[in-house]
């Protein structure tokens, strides 16, 4: 067991070490500041700025979460508390099945259905909006199934106590069950966010991968993961190194994002809990 745990740490360290070695020349040549805050990405012509991709990743991730969190938690409440057992028996496996669908299939559906639909609003359809919608669909099952589990894990006595004290059903859910299940719900959101930031294939297929800084939600953009995946096939020399440097940024980006979300969500819910007492 300890060996297994240790090996995963070793693997993580090896990955980090490897991309740092490969990407470091870029930081030295371009400079960290120019690399992070440059808006021009033309690696074969000597411009290595990834601000547009950092922005793209952030916007798409938060956009998708903004859509997925309320929907996901609502759906989890429905599954855990409201839906009759027969509906649950049918819905829960369906949600679990969604988790297992390969991302390329989500991308394909996005490309065929969502992109043309967004094109009706304006632009080419390959856009931040399309990416957010596809990503929302991918994140939802994670949020639903883990939140559902954690709401159902709240001790029965809590619920019965609340009802016995005269709480309505909704009061019981919002004031007792949800705050009690908060750590599980936070976990579901953090996991969902991890999937959102790391998602590559589906994003490449619907976001357009443009290097320009997006000006509206209907504009195409590019994510950090997409930047690596789209270009690594044909990259060599400094271009390849710049892509590894993108990987470093992505790694740090995910660590920062995870920390921020976990901390703020915990604090927010603590405050909410204090407010109740």
């Amino acid at each position: 067991m300890l060996a297994c745990a240790a090996s995963s740490v070793v693997v993580l360290a090896a990955i980090a070490f490897f991309i740092f070695i490969q990407g470091l020349p870029t930081f030295q040549q371009v400079g960290i500041f120019d690399f992070l805050f440059g808006t021009e990405w033309r690696p074969t012509q000597g411009s290595f700025g990834i601000l547009a991709m950092i922005f793209g990743s952030t916007v798409v991730t938060f956009g998708a979460l903004l859509l997925a969190i309320p929907l996901g938690i609502a759906c989890a409440i429905l599954l855990a508390e409201v839906a009759p057992p027969r509906v649950r028996l049918f819905l829960r496996p369906a949600v679990e099945l969604l988790v297992g669908i390969p991302s390329v299939v989500y991308g394909l559906v996005g490309m065929v259905l969502i992109v043309p639909a967004v094109r009706q609003i304006g632009g080419s359809g390959f856009s931040i909006i399309a990416a957010c919608l596809v990503l929302m669909a991918m994140v939802l099952p994670t949020i639903i199934s883990i939140s559902d589990d954690s709401i159902r894990a709240v001790p029965r006595a809590y619920k019965e106590g609340a009802l016995a004290l005269g709480c309505t059903r909704w009061q019981t859910i919002s004031r007792v069950l949800l705050p009690s299940a908060r750590s599980g719900i936070i976990a579901s959101i953090v996991l969902g966010m991890g999937r959102a930031v790391g998602e590559t294939m589906a994003m490449i297929m619907v976001i357009g991968n443009s290097i320009a800084f997006p000006k509206s939600p209907l504009d195409p953009a590019r994510t950090l993961t997409g930047n690596i995946a789209v270009e690594i096939n044909y990259a060599s020399g400094t271009h390849a190194s710049a892509l590894f440097a993108t990987g470093i940024v992505l790694l740090v980006f995910i660590i920062i994002l995870n920390t921020i979300t976990t901390v703020t969500l915990r604090r927010g819910i603590h405050k909410y809990a204090e407010h109740l007492t």
């Binding site: 021009e40 992109v115 080419s124 096939n233 990259a235």
Partner: protein, 290 residues
């Protein structure tokens, strides 16, 4: 005694004839002219080749390389030709490093890449301008194409079409097709517009254009089918026929690059590609060298 000695000598020679190409194929990277002549004489007399040839590089060249390899292996069953993709830059680098015998490129070599490499043109390819089948515009001047892809023209009405924002679709940076297009059409004075939708394969380019009525893109002639419309450039359509008769000007070579002069099995394979039989295979998708 005499006959036994003679048969031994024959045996020895036969073994030698079999072994020499094997040894030589193992050291194809060495650009020695003496070995080249040695192989050719050995093979013409025995007509038996054995060993492995490895190639990697451009995904545009890959399909044709695979068919060429198949035909080559059908003639010489003991030869194994390994064809890998990876992209032009990868192929060129692999040939320089000596990790493959032959690197495939769908663009001209950059000056920095040239030292030590020998290029052999195995085919020509036209780069056509394509749009959605419903597009009313059938012809664009080269200048208009430059302006569209560099972002100076952003609406189809500026070139006489409907009032619709143009969706420029392009390959990603590093792609051989994009490199050739930038070199042949945009030239170094113009940059690809930053808002262009980027797709990372020829197939994805075609699908994107086929689905978007406002799209424009460039695509290798070999990939064109009825799902997209070919837009004429200065009155000439980018079709295989027009590339062949010399009227269509946006063309690029498909290259095999080797470290030093081709040698051993690698040379045999390239010679086969250039032969009539090989060029017949090339002609299925691209334009022969003659």
């Amino acid at each position: 005694m005499f006959t036994r000695a003679k048969s031994r000598l024959m045996m020895f020679l036969a073994t030698l004839a079999l072994v020499i190409p094997l040894i030589l194929s193992a050291c194809t990277a060495e650009p020695e002219t003496t070995t080249v002549t040695a192989t050719t004489t050995a093979t013409t007399t025995v007509k038996q080749l054995a060993g492995t040839v490895t190639t990697s590089g451009s995904t545009t060249v890959q399909p044709v390389s695979e068919r060429l390899a198949e035909a080559f292996m059908a003639i010489y069953p003991k030869v194994n030709v390994v064809v890998q993709g990876g992209g032009s830059s990868v192929g060129i680098k692999a040939a320089t490093d000596g990790t493959v015998d032959i690197g495939a490129s769908s663009r001209e070599l950059k000056t920095a890449e040239k030292p030590g490499l020998v290029e052999t043109v195995i085919a020509w390819d036209g780069i056509a301008i394509i749009a959605h089948p419903s597009q009313s515009i059938g012809n664009l001047t080269k200048q208009q194409i430059i302006d569209i892809f560099s972002g100076k023209i952003t609406n189809w009405k500026e070139v006489g079409g409907a009032d619709k924002k143009i969706t420029v679709v392009s390959r990603e940076e590093g792609s051989g097709t994009r490199g050739a297009f930038e070199e042949l059409v945009l030239t170094s004075a113009n940059k690809m517009v930053a808002t262009a939708i980027l797709q990372s394969s020829n197939g994805a380019i075609k699908t994107t254009v086929a689905g978007d009525p406002a799209a424009i893109a460039y695509l290798s002639c070999g990939y064109i089918d009825a799902t997209v419309k070919v837009v004429n450039v200065d009155g000439v359509a980018g079709t295989v026929a027009n590339v062949k008769n010399g009227t269509y000007k946006i063309i690029r070579p498909l290259l095999y690059v080797t470290k030093g002069e081709p040698a051993g099995l690698g040379k045999e394979f390239i010679d086969f590609c250039l032969s009539d039989a090989g060029q017949q295979i090339v002609a299925e998708d691209y334009i022969t060298i003659k």
